[in-house]
Amino acid sequence: MLLDVKDIHKTYATADGPFEVLRGIGLTLDAGETLALTGESGSGKSTLLHLIGGLDTPDRGQIMLDGVDIAALDDNGRADLRRGTVGVVFQQFNLIPSLKVSDNIAFQARLAGRYDPDWLTVLADRMGLTPQMGKYPEQLSGGQQQRVAIARTLAPKPRLVLADEPTGNLDEATASVVMDLMLELVTVTGAGLLMVTHSDALAGRMQRRLHLRAGQVA
């Protein structure tokens, strides 16, 4: 099993006092499997994704990824995990504006020490980014920027891909194309995919679907 999440709790301090976002969530995911996380706004989908990605730490519970308990890792350990095992696709793309498209795509692979120019060429080609490689992110459309972000995430061939509403900023047609590409490339790499989405259509294309309500699995 690639991912095993057990009894996760997370509380945030807000202006109105403590707010418990996650209340005992659990889930599993195998390598090569795709899972959609759906739910209303504030149900805890993104928080759960951040915890699994090592971007934040749970108050209680266990997240076993490839046999390692993420919740027990320190800051450096979680950085190692984000660099080598997990890849995250953000809704806001989070590209580095001062780097060209080619450098953005290669960035995480270089960071992880798994730079493979042939694989990057395949990725760029499949994503239709070859003509854009010399441009800067601000010169691309939103759909193109998201494809760059996906290529960057897949470049080091991570074991687990986490996607936080990756098509939330895109129109329906572009979202569909981007999603097709992501699913295809995830299949090629054999990674597990956990995707947060509001879209029933996109969720329907995943192998499994988990619905959250008020911090718990519905």
């Binding site: 945030y12 301090a13 807000t14 202006a15 951040h50 990605g53 971007l55 934040d56 800051d75 450096n76 950085a79 190692d80 995990l81 984000r82 660099r83 080598g84 995250v88 953000f90 989070n94 590209l95 580095i96 504006p97 001062s98 780097l99 450098d103 290669a106 960035f107 995480q108 270089r110 960071l111 992880a112 020490g113 800067y136 459309s141 939103g142 900023n169």
Partner: protein, 794 residues
């Protein structure tokens, strides 16, 4: 990982060259001002050290005659025979060069031309064949003499054998002082038994010139530090903005797995590389500044203190290194806050908005609290500060406190103005200005410091000038001053003046110590010139009557302050006691001065012969007097100087002092103007999202540009209003605390409203010029860029 990260970090600067330029230029300018001033100081100090090494100044005890006059050479022979290990020194001036004669065989090591050049004939030096040693400048001033170039020799000084010096200076058989070697044989007779006419001056561990000029250099260093502080404000602003702009990238890098520690190390390394590059450029610029300032500083030091400083600059590794160190240290100081914030920045921003807002509020509160503490501290120091350290602590607390308080003061003014605004546009303008304030506050702080320094220093300098001009009118009352070269000329002058002038007033002085302070005692002839012209800071009802009656003594302010002497205190000169009857202002004189009546002076110092005289006569008769003087006595016009001439020379010396401070003033203001320009340019890009809604709602781009320009001028004007009282407080601290501690006299403070108004206009002009380009840029922002604000794709 490191390479990829560095590439990502550095790419920010290539994509934002203006920001990189701001950072490098700010740091380079700050370093340039600092290292320029330090280079001038280092050059001057090296000159003093060379001079001190030449004469062993401050390192060895010396024997001199009690009346300060040269002694007969036989005294030296007498002391050597009695077992005293002493070495003779003769010194004097020839064509403006200080000639120093030493005896190489008896002089202690380290004195004299120790670094003989290869072509020097040591034999001829020892046998008195006439060789002198001096640097190239000195050699050029003595074309008729055989001067061997020795770069290590002090500027303006030529060293030679004692016999040669005696011949050149017309002091045959006479010496000025005897150096007492540290190791002396036991059981030698006491000095009072062999040479009772001599007195022993203890070594003071440093050169007199070095101590006298320390305060001057301290002031220069303080100015350099202030300029550096202004520069560091720019660097801080540039780094802060760069970090703010890179915040999302930093989050992305961390989200992609870059460890925080490595990120901070790499960002710090990146800044240090920039600091090194800017530091090298800054030190090179500093060299140019120093080369431009040094001739004026050298002239000032020569005029004020008689200190010879080389007018040319040498490249010294110490100030290259100190310049680079200050650039690196300054960058570390400016970046430490930004790096600390980075290390505390949460990886996920969204959940922390409120916490960040609360933290910003707390920071403003802490800044306000620190500002209030510093301003209270400066208020307390204004009453209690004593000495240079207290004075500079006062200045530091005042300036930093005011700088920290400025954004809070401006924020309150803008809040009130916003509340009073009637039209929607005005309300938006005030609210938007207030919102922009944090981004501009560092540049405005730099402007505040620069303006306050300008107001403060120009007030001090102008007050100095007014006081000094009035002082010259009082002290240079005689219409003509004549110097004589020998007793024959003196006698001829006295005879000639008796027939042709209203009065002849000898100017005669002897060196002595009063209460441990080196002092020149003058003997004054009873004449109305003194009674009519001299003004006292404090005096008994009839100071001149009692002084000319031989009962009292008049002292200058420096001696009064340093020796703690007040009216009614007693001063002992040899066997006679005098009561202090008056304290007079004596601006520009570094040492103590005392004045007694002529008869008493001759009794105490019988060997002193006057060789300078003030001549009283109607001013229109001066040319006729000078012509007749040469015809009848052979004293040429070159030995005379009229009142107007001497005033012009004295004022010229001070003008050169002011040239240095004025140059630094202008540079500091220019640096502040640069800070505003760079802040506005950097902010201009970030302003688009704030201006786009106003444009969308019907304001033209041209109007937005005009409002941007107005905003910069308005903020500069408000800053100028705050800078005025701060500058006046700075001037007061300089005049009443620092000046007294550094120079020993207090100056009255005058206010110069027109100068301040002009400075204010310059500041507004600088702000307007600085804002013009960014405003024009904003006014020409393509509509497509403004529209992007409303698009998700931005």
């Amino acid at each position: 990982m490191t390479r990829a990260t560095l590439h990502a970090l550095l790419s920010h600067w290539w994509r934002n060259p203006l920001q990189l330029f701001t950072l490098l230029a700010g740091l380079a300018l700050a370093t340039a001002l600092w290292s320029g001033v330090q280079a001038v100081n280092a050059e001057a100090r090296a000159s003093y050290d060379a001079a001190a090494a030449t004469l062993g100044e401050g390192q060895y005890d010396r024997l001199t005659r009690r009346d300060g006059q040269p002694m007969d050479q036989t005294i030296y022979v007498r002391l050597r025979r009695a077992g005293w290990l002493v070495s003779p020194v003769v010194q004097g001036r020839l064509d403006g060069v200080r000639i120093v004669g030493v005896e190489p065989l008896t002089a202690p090591g380290g004195i004299g031309p120790v670094n003989l050049s290869q072509d020097a004939d040591i034999g001829s030096f020892l046998t008195g064949a006439g060789q002198l040693f001096g640097n190239a400048e000195t050699a050029a001033r003595l074309p008729d003499l055989d001067v061997i170039i020795s770069p290590q020799t002090a500027p303006g000084t030529a060293v030679t054998d004692i016999g040669v010096a005696q011949d050149l200076l017309g002091k045959s058989g006479r010496i000025d002082s005897l150096i007492v070697l540290p190791a002396q044989p036991q059981g030698r007779p006491a000095l009072a038994d062999i040479a009772p006419e001599l007195t022993r001056q203890q070594a003071q561990g440093g050169s007199d010139v070095g101590r006298l000029t320390d305060s001057f250099h301290l002031n220069l260093t303080a100015f350099g530090l202030l300029s550096f502080a202004v520069g560091i404000f720019i660097v801080n602003g540039a780094i802060g903005l760069a970090f703010e702009q890179r915040r999302p990238v930093v989050r992305t890098l961390r989200a992609l797995g870059l460890p925080l520690r490595r990120l901070i190390i790499l960002m710090a390394a990146e800044l240090m590389i920039f600091a090194l590059v800017a530091g090298i450029v800054g030190v090179a610029l500093g060299y140019v500044i120093a080369a431009l300032l040094l001739p004026d500083v050298a002239a000032t030091l020569r005029g004020l203190y008689g200190a010879d400083v080389s007018g040319t600059l040498q490249l010294r590794p110490s100030w290259w290194l100190s310049g680079l160190a200050i650039a690196l240290g300054g960058t570390a100081l400016a970046a430490s806050g930004a790096l600390y914030k980075l290390s505390r920045m949460p990886l996920l921003a969204a959940a922390q908005h409120r916490a960040l807002a609360m933290a910003a509020g707390k920071r403003a509160l802490a800044q306000g609290a620190i500002a209030v503490c510093l301003l209270i501290m400066s208020a307390v120091l204004m009453v209690t500060a004593d000495g240079l350290i207290g004075g500079f602590t006062l200045l530091g607390a005042l300036l930093i406190g005011a700088a920290l308080a400025l954004p809070l003061i401006l924020d309150q003014i803008l809040r009130v103005a916003g509340g009073l605004a009637k039209s929607v546009t005005a309300q938006w303008f005030w609210a938007d200005t207030r919102q922009q304030l944090p981004g501009l506050s560092l540049a405005l702080m730099a402007l505040l410091l620069a303006m306050a320094a300008n107001v403060g220093v120009s007030t001090m300098v102008s007050s100095f000038r007014l006081t000094f001009t009035a002082f010259l009118d009082q002290r240079l009352a005689s219409e003509l001053y004549v110097s004589t070269e020998d007793a024959r000329q003196t006698a001829a002058l006295i005879a000639y003046a008796a027939e042709t002038a209203d009065a002849l007033l000898p100017i005669q002085s002897a060196e002595t110590d009063i209460e441990g302070q080196p002092t020149q005692v003058f003997g004054a002839r009873d004449h109305a010139t003194y009674r009519d012209n001299w003004a006292f800071l404090q005096a008994t009802p009839d100071p001149w009557d009692t002084t000319f009656a031989g009962q009292t003594i008049l002292i200058n302010e420096q001696l009064s302050r340093r020796a703690g002497l007040d009216l009614g205190d007693e001063i002992r000169l040899q066997d006679q006691t005098f009561t202090v009857a008056g304290v007079y202002g004596d601006y520009g004189n570094p040492i103590g001065q005392a004045l007694i009546n002529e008869a008493q002076f001759f009794r105490l110092y019988p060997d002193v012969m006057p060789d300078r005289f003030g001549v009283r006569m109607p001013a229109e008769k001066v040319p006729e007097f000078v012509a007749g003087l040469e015809a009848q006595t052979g004293i040429p016009p070159s030995q005379t100087i009229n009142q107007a001439g001497i005033k012009a020379i004295s004022l010229a010396i001070f003008e050169r002092t002011f040239t240095v401070t004025t140059a630094l003033n202008i540079l500091t203001l220019a640096v502040a103007g640069f800070a505003i320009l760079m802040s506005l340019l950097t902010l201009a890009t970030m302003r688009v999202p704030q201006l786009a809604p106003a444009w969308a709602m019907g304001m033209t781009r041209a109007r937005l540009g005009r409002l941007e320009l107005m905003r910069a001028v308005l903020l500069a004007m408000l800053t100028a209003i705050v800078a005025l009282p701060l500058g006046l407080a700075l001037a007061w601290a300089l005049l009443a605390v620092v000046n007294v501690a550094a120079f020993g006299w207090q100056l009255p403070m005058y206010i110069f409203p027109w100068d301040y108004a002009r400075l204010g206009l310059f500041a507004l002009l600088a702000a307007a010029l600085a804002a013009l380009w960014p405003a024009r840029k904003l006014a020409r922002t393509p509509p497509a860029d403004l529209l992007k604000v409303f698009s998700n794709e931005r």
